[in-house]
């Protein structure tokens, strides 16, 4: 006899979950990955799901269907996944767990615009649900090339797959890029909202799944010493740096030429970090509680809405040939799949002002670049200097103010620079650093960002995903800059820097005008 699900209505609860883990519960569901033959699926998504299974966090009864255009059997699909999983899985490859896990993975071949493919997908999911008394949750992960996002959403709706059954849910995760400007983002949001409710839409930004990004709120709001200082009275400025030593290897030039540093990194990842570091304390830790405060930051950004303002506050640049890690590297315009007359920025530095009570007059600087000396992402909070009444007469004076550095990657951690007396009979001051390294203090490795984010989506927790208004407000800010660069009559110039250096002179001058300098990483 099969248990009757119908008698339960929607008020079903699981008493064994209570007090067990402090997170929303991930429920059994069918996960459909669009773009299943792509690199993201093989290198990130399946290994993330597998590692959740290794940790026992993937609910029993999860089925994974890979949806893509290429002709493949289930066996071929699984073999391809296994080959990559063996190479990239964070926890290694356990044959017993893999065999059990891969049993739940299958392949569904269809063109993205073929309604019949979605009808047969719906039938297939219904068959899976039939075993659960006709009920089942669905998670659609759109990891295809962005040009198919619209079509997939429209087809999902056409096949009725966007509709959740009674007491169940249907959710969608959408990979970046979420549009290429405000217009396309709005269009995509419109298509999404016609297909899924906002509460069921998860726009992924893997930066938010990183441990230190999540720790930002804890650092700010669980430590009494920081929040009272976190304002224009005590902070002189903040810097967010994302430097990469790589260039356009592996054919990345083709993609990069269409996006550039501003759209590829600043619009999403770095503005997300900015909003976390600058937001007001949320009223609660609910997804909307947090996102309400984040979007206020983006909305409060002063708009650089004329070419003159852009020229004054935003520097774009390309690298010329140089050396990185001791190896000669080509200039941006000589890179593979990059136009020799390219006007795409491989470096951008932006000066931002947030017009709120808390941040009035405090500049935020974001810089992102390829072919910089090393790979690093960090946020540095620069505090104002102490009144120089007591020590200003000393030789050397007071060596700089306090700097709190939050390292996002690599070597996640937090450090605080302070001033200290050098031991000895004379009074001389030097900066010292208190340093906290995640890897040193917590030997245990953090889960990959995708593990956390996929589990959150299965559990219905959207806190670490971008909301519609966040995405659109970010594009509104970015669009002014893009227009000044590409459509205005007096386009701000493209600066240059030697590959392997810390960016163009113009960026140094921009920050210097405010009396500051880029932090040396």
């Amino acid at each position: 006899m099969k248990a009757s699900v119908e008698t339960l209505g929607t008020a079903m609860s699981n008493p064994f979950r209570e007090d067990l883990v402090s997170r929303n519960r991930p429920e059994p569901c069918t996960v459909v990955i669009f773009g299943a033959t792509g690199d993201l699926t093989h290198r990130k998504l399946i290994p993330a799901l597998y590692n959740l299974a290794v940790g026992g966090e993937l609910p029993t009864g999860v089925n994974i269907i890979g949806f893509a255009r290429r002709e493949k059997s289930d066996g071929e699909f699984r073999t391809g996944l296994e080959v990559l999983n063996r190479k990239v899985s964070r926890s290694g490859h356990d044959a017993e767990v893999w065999d059990n896990f891969i049993h739940s993975v299958s392949y569904h071949q269809s063109e993205f615009n073929d309604a019949r493919g979605y009808a047969s997908l719906a039938k297939r999911i219904d068959e899976i649900d039939a075993g659960r008394g006709g009920k089942g949750n669905r998670l659609f992960y759109i990891a295809s090339a962005p040009e198919f996002f619209d079509e997939i959403l429209i087809q999902l709706k056409g096949a009725g797959l966007n509709k959740a059954k009674d007491g169940c849910w249907a959710r969608v995760i959408i990979e970046k890029p979420f549009g290429t400007d405000l217009k396309t983002a709005k269009h995509l949001n419109k298509v999404v909202s016609q297909t899924f409710a906002e509460k069921d839409t998860y726009r992924i930004d893997h930066y938010l799944g990183k441990e230190t990004a999540q720790n930002l709120m804890v650092l700010r709001f669980a430590n009494a010493i920081f929040e009272p200082l976190w304002n224009s009275r005590y902070i002189s400025h903040l810097q967010i740096t994302c430097s990469e030593n790589l260039g356009m290897e592996g054919g990345r030039g083709g993609y990069y030429e269409k996006s550039g540093a501003l759209r590829d990194m600043v619009q999403n990842h770095l503005l997300q970090l900015l909003s976390l570091v600058a937001m007001e304390p949320p009223t609660d830790l609910s997804a909307d509680g947090v996102r309400d405060e984040k979007v206020k930051v983006i909305r409060s950004l002063r708009q650089w809405d004329t070419p003159e303002k852009v020229a004054e506050n935003v520097i774009r640049a390309q690298y010329t040939a140089g050396h990185v890690d001791g190896n000669p590297v080509p200039g941006y315009r000589e890179e593979d799949r990059v136009s020799p007359t390219s006007e795409t920025e491989a470096y951008v530095a932006v000066r931002l002002l947030i017009d709120t009570w808390r941040w009035s007059g405090v500049p935020f600087y974001i810089r992102m670049g390829k072919r910089l000396p090393k790979k690093s992402t960090e946020i540095s909070v620069h505090f104002k200097e102490a009144p120089s009444v007591l020590f200003s007469a000393l030789p050397g004076g007071v060596p700089g103010g306090n700097v709190l550095v939050i390292r996002i990657q690599p070597d996640e951690g937090i450090s605080l620079r302070m001033v200290s007396k050098i031991p000895g009979t004379s009074l001389r001051l030097e900066p010292v650093k208190m340093d906290f390294h995640y890897a040193t203090s917590f030997g245990k490795g953090s889960p990959e960002a995708y593990e956390r984010l996929i589990l959150d989506a299965i559990a219905g927790d959207a806190t670490l995903f971008a909301r519609r208004d966040e995405v659109e407000e970010a594009w509104r800010f970015i669009d002014h800059i893009e227009r000044a660069w590409h459509e205005s009559d007096n386009k701000p110039p493209m600066a240059e820097f030697v590959a392997g250096s810390w960016g163009p002179r113009e960026a140094d001058e921009m920050i210097k005008k405010d009396g500051f300098a880029w932090r040396r990483l």
Partner: protein, 345 residues
């Protein structure tokens, strides 16, 4: 005080006078600038077992890789002449293959009359401001007092090693009366963590949820030394589902429905080998073969069959402690379940 190459405690590091411990630790760190001293907690490991000190030093070597700490190891031997010996060392490992990260260790061997001396010895060598985690190995002796408990943030015990668990918990309750800040963690409870997660996960499935109201039988298998773990998971099921214990392995649901629980002990079982809940037509089961690293989680309801693997709970006490240290929390669920567990004993 003498240290000879044949000293059985040589692997505890450098033997030092107790009054010189801080000085010697500083000297230890000054020897090598390339090493980073990391510490998130004071971890005291207490044993009254002969040879426990050496074994615990090896355990800390592993434990400190993921839980940077100042380890304070204590071995008590009352039957010997009164003495106090101390050793210092550091357990280092390469973090990310680059940095040498070390946890310092102070080991004490107290013999003869120890009460009072022991407490002061430990208190004076704690790293200030860091929490004190106290891992008490074996039966609680007279050394365990209210004064000692008052400085602990977390007490880890293993009720499976106690002959009389009721008496052990009564002693803890007496020593910690009014001390709501102390978190007590029983490794017998930690041993069924993955089982609890597994069962909770299975009941997220609508089919299992539908069967919950009709559960009529529970079967739990355990190895002989893990009866407490079996009883604790039974107590957890009952408390969470709101079943009342009516005696002799019988429970009653809120609507008066009877559930019979069978607890089986077998030397061929994993520490916890099986937890099975059955209703007419549906079986929800988490099981583990002896020696297996995985739990098998299953639901069977007519044609509907789903299964998955999840990690098994570790068996060694040190691995369970490592789990506890990485998890933290107030352990309120254990306190909720404890009265029912004591009733089932």
């Amino acid at each position: 005080m003498t240290t000879t190459p044949t000293d059985e405690y040589a692997e505890l590091g450098k033997e030092v006078p107790v009054s010189q411990i801080d000085h010697e630790l500083r000297a230890l760190w000054e020897q090598d600038d390339a090493r980073t001293n990391a510490s998130l907690m004071n971890l005291v490991v207490y044993t009254e077992r002969r040879g426990g000190l050496l074994e615990n030093s090896r355990i800390i070597g592993d434990l400190a890789r993921e839980n940077a700490c100042r380890a304070i190891l204590v071995e008590i031997a009352r039957e010997e002449e009164t003495s106090l010996r101390a050793w210092i060392t550091a357990h280092c490992h390469l973090s990310d293959g680059r940095k040498s990260v070390c946890s310092e260790q102070i080991a004490f061997r107290l013999t003869g009359r120890v009460t009072g001396r022991f407490r002061n010895t430990v208190f004076s060598h704690l790293n200030s401001d860091l929490p004190l985690i106290f891992w008490w190995q074996g039966k609680l002796s007279e050394v365990f007092t209210e004064r000692l408990a008052s400085v602990m943030d977390r007490l880890i015990v293993d009720s499976s090693s106690w002959a009389d668990a009721k008496a052990g918990f009564a002693r803890i309750a007496e020593a910690t009366e009014g001390n709501t800040a102390l978190v007590v963690q029983d490794l017998a409870w930690t041993r069924c963590w993955q089982y609890r997660v597994g069962i909770a996960g299975l009941f997220d499935d609508t089919v299992a949820q539908a069967a919950l109201g009709g559960i009529a039988g529970i079967r739990i298998c355990h190895s002989p030394q893990n009866r407490n773990t079996a009883l604790q998971i039974l107590a957890w099921l009952a408390v969470q589902a709101g079943w009342k214990h009516k005696g002799a392995g019988v429970f009653e649901t809120r609507d008066g429905h009877r559930i019979t629980a069978v607890i089986e002990s077998s030397p061929d079982s994993a520490p916890l080998g099986l937890v099975e809940l059955s209703s007419p037509g549906t079986t929800v089961r988490v099981s583990r073969e002896k020696g297996s690293a995985h739990l098998l989680r299953e639901i069977e309801s007519g044609d509907y069959k789903v299964s998955s693997l999840s990690p098994a709970d570790p068996e060694a006490a040190e691995s369970l402690v490592a789990q506890q240290l990485s998890r933290g929390g107030k352990n309120s669920l254990f306190l909720k379940v404890l009265p029912t567990f004591l009733e089932l004993l």
